[in-house]
Symmetry: C2
Subunit: 308 residues, 2 copies
């Protein structure tokens, strides 16, 4: 099959501290976008909640204090320069941020085209952690306190360059996320994440955090024959370490390039979208091989139930 | 949580040639079961289509010639000694074989308890390959010619030792397989396979065959918090090489032990079933985090359709 090349970049962010302003963060994002452009990349993936520190590590009850982490318009006055840079350089992007819409808080990402216009929006569906602080826990992970479950499904957008889908952080661990996009012929999945190096709820060996991150992306890419571009917010934020491991994964399930640091860092790779075609014509020819009549339990129950 | 130890073994088979008799193959299986028992294992996983050579590599039209590869009763006179050995040693097993039932051919596995009695049966659902020989192809893979799609779903059986499920070969590449068992609280998935080292339909780099095999098992284990015991029929059968890589994978997605050879070889590992409990109480608490309302496409379409 004829190669179809698309040059992707991933822009990992180092830590964003609570005192960092939007202006400072957007300046870093623009620098990274320009770096990606200088390498020839057409699209760049930024992290989840890229504009602020990962505030769900704290239990905050003051509404004004919480609202300071959220965006009420996108672009707004402080984020518009990033959209302008995208248009000027002709580089599309994925950006994660906290969204306040009609009084509801979401963990959101947008896809912005190479003309600087918003192509689509996704709201995180698999919200991890707790709704209330766990007494005595060494770490908190309170996404369920701050974010409603996304209400937009897992859409895929046919851009001029590729069919692109989005997910956010914990979504990547759930095979349903990738499969719903795979069933729409997704060619590139973009994902941002903030993944604490330690685990809140039990004493899981710390090396497994990176292993599970990479395993989930590799499986999602292979089993749906798509490219995956994943961007961390990494390093030590407010004393709390988060993993890096931003990467671009091929439809073979192979990691083609990944970040070395836990700081601001760009990686890039020229992806051949036609690799997907081989898998979709053969081993992952869904129409020929899937058997939805045997998958009904996936939608008919939420939690596990013991065998009859 | 309190450890719950279960000692599992996997018995990889080297090649079975067409001239090898059932008596010879069953003798090898008994030797392997006794080896597993001597190490203290309580259960052993044998490969897919363990009793014969992997005949779907050939296009055979003579009904009598085809039928010679199939079992019409289980146990039959030639396989009963394996069941007797299981009962005598107190070792349960998974065994794959070609089943002829009421005139329909299936690619089947059975789970046999430590008392030598059949606990359950599974019939392969994801039948790969072609229904007719591909003209001029260097290799054929004709499972769709020989096997009907399984009609028993993906059951899980609560044995005295663990909740055990089964799948066969290509099933392991499909996340739906593991998820349907995960939704029944499966603790151990047993899987047999025959995976040609070369790929039929396109010139995929050969190293990817092993990578995809291991990746699929690791993702299935992690994403459903279960142990996986997978057994290859390996080596060069009738001139056709097949991968080994039989292994036992933990709910962490880590490969704990794997075979070295492409010959008859036993591996074993003492599995702590309580590891699953940590994941199921936290990151993979399905009841708390799954959102089936956003998964409906998984059962509502079979093939991929482009985005609206």
């Amino acid at each position: 099959m004829t190669a179809r090349k698309l040059h992707l970049a991933v822009a990992q962010l180092g830590p964003v501290q609570r005192s960092d302003t939007r202006v400072q963060v957007v300046r870093r994002l623009i620098d990274l976008l320009e770096d990606a452009h200088s390498r020839g990349a057409a699209w760049v993936t930024f992290p989840e909640l890229a504009l602020t520190t990962f505030f769900p590590r704290w239990s905050i009850d003051d509404p004004a204090e919480v609202q300071a982490f959220f965006e009420t318009e996108m672009p707004g006055p402080l984020t518009r320069p990033l959209f302008d840079a995208a248009r000027d350089k002709g580089v599309g992007f994925y950006l994660g941020y906290a969204e306040l819409a009609d009084g509801v808080q979401y963990n959101t990402s947008i896809l912005v085209g190479r003309d600087g216009q918003i192509v689509g929006k996704y709201r995180k569906i698999h919200i991890p952690g707790d709704a209330q602080a766990v007494d005595g826990a060494p770490l908190q992970h309170l996404e369920k306190k701050y974010f409603a479950v996304g209400d937009l499904g897992f859409p895929v957008w046919q851009t001029p360059d590729a069919a692109i889908g989005m997910c956010i952080c914990n979504d990547r661990r759930w095979p349903e996320t990738f499969r719903v996009m795979g069933l729409q012929g997704v060619e590139v999945v973009m994902a941002g994440y903030n993944t604490p190096s330690g685990y809140v709820q039990w004493n899981e060996p710390i090396h497994l955090r990176m292993h599970h991150h990479l395993l989930s992306l590799q499986a999602g890419a292979y089993q749906n024959a798509c490219w995956v571009a994943a961007a961390a917010k990494a390093g030590v934020e407010e004393g709390n370490p988060m993993i890096g491991g931003s990467c671009i994964v091929a439809p073979t399930g192979e990691i083609m390039v990944r970040t070395f640091s836990e700081e601001d860092e760009v990686i890039n790779f020229v992806c051949d979208l036609s690799v997907s075609d081989h898998y979709r014509a053969n081993i992952f020819n869904f129409a020929a091989h899937r058997r939805p009549e045997h998958y009904r339990m996936i939608v008919e129950r939420t939690g596990a139930q013991p065998p009859a």
